[in-house]
């Protein structure tokens, strides 16, 4: 009977601690860090081709996943939030891989080849990758 009570007590304490930790994390954590996560490597041309072929299938493969996209820099601009936006060339002259950079000091030049790692958020003409960092 006594051991039985002890087990319950331990379980209750463990659950409370886990819950407390989760609650603590919910109030204190920052945004997710993608730069040190494992990524799906894909080149810019086939990433857009996959989406043009079937958005649903491509979403199963890439949506909400960390991807490392390799491609030629088409353009470097700044968005309204002051973040660097790098577009990568695809086989489609109108549409690109649209990468918003997390990294502020990234040295990226038009026409060079880069690999950018970030979260794939989906497709709307361009394929969008956010929170990007340069993979060396």
């Amino acid at each position: 009977m006594k051991t039985w009570k002890k087990i319950i007590l331990i379980v209750v304490v463990a659950v409370a601690a886990a819950g407390g930790y989760k609650g603590y994390r919910m109030y204190t954590d920052g945004p997710e860090n993608y730069s040190d996560q494992k990524a799906i490597t894909v080149n810019a041309v086939s990433l857009l081709d996959d989406y043009n072929k079937s958005e649903a299938d491509a979403n199963k493969k890439y949506l909400d996943k960390v991807v490392a996209v390799k491609g030629e820099v088409k353009d470097v601009t700044t968005n309204q939030e002051g973040q660097m936006v790098v577009t990568l060339k695809t086989s489609d002259p109108m549409n690109s891989i649209n990468c918003t950079m997390d990294q502020k000091d990234a040295a990226i030049t038009q026409g060079t080849n880069v690999t950018l790692k970030g979260l794939c958020t989906g497709y709307m003409m361009d394929v969008y990758i956010t929170r990007c960092t340069v993979v060396k």
Binding site: P31, D64, T100, T121
Partner: protein, 185 residues
């Protein structure tokens, strides 16, 4: 021969006219804010696709739900959850409508013009007719659109689970702020 040339010129003329009337962005800004007794929640999406046709008044917005960024990973995760925005099944939110008082806007003259936009707003797979006030600002070849409106979550079948209802408001204030470029084809 003359006919062919004429038709070529006419076609080119039409294409140019159409191209000149469209302003677009692929990286516009939409943010939302909600305050609750416990904390304020705000998120930003700086990869919003939008276009405005200055001749017809047609306005379109498209955004990826997973493109909303929060200050905390747990909030972002909750927002995308199956029991909230369910962004795996509904990855986009769209607005398709018209500027109803387009004649108020002079796209060739710098200035800020108050407008009304009406159309279909789709969130979480549910489409509703909405109408909101906003502004169009013309600065040379650049155009900016701004609007602020309230979205009531239950209108779009977004349910707030009772155990988090203190943390998640029942309506959110949405802000649109998009810088457009002239569409050069």
């Amino acid at each position: 021969m003359k006919k062919i040339l004429l038709s070529v010129f006419v076609t080119l003329g039409i294409t140019t006219a159409n191209a000149q009337s469209v302003f677009f962005t692929k990286n516009g800004l939409v943010s939302f804010f909600s305050s609750t007794p416990l904390e304020n929640i705000d998120a930003k999406n700086s990869a919003v696709a939008s276009k405005i046709n200055s001749q017809t008044g047609d306005v379109e917005f498209q955004m990826l739900i997973k493109g909303f960024e929060f200050k905390k990973a747990s909030m972002q995760q909750h927002f995308n959850d199956k029991d909230y925005m369910d962004s795996d099944n509904y990855p986009k939110s769209t607005f398709k409508g018209k500027i109803t008082d387009l004649s108020k806007v002079n796209f060739k003259k710098d200035g800020t013009y108050a407008i009304t936009v009406e159309g279909d707003l789709t969130i979480h797979g549910v489409t509703k007719k909405v109408s909101t006030g906003g502004t169009i600002t013309v600065t040379g070849e650049k155009v900016n659109s701004k609007a602020t409106f309230t979205v009531v979550l239950k209108d779009y079948n977004v349910s707030v689970p009772s155990f988090v209802s203190k943390k998640v408001a029942e309506s959110v204030e949405v802000k649109v702020d998009c810088d457009y470029q002239f569409y050069k084809g």
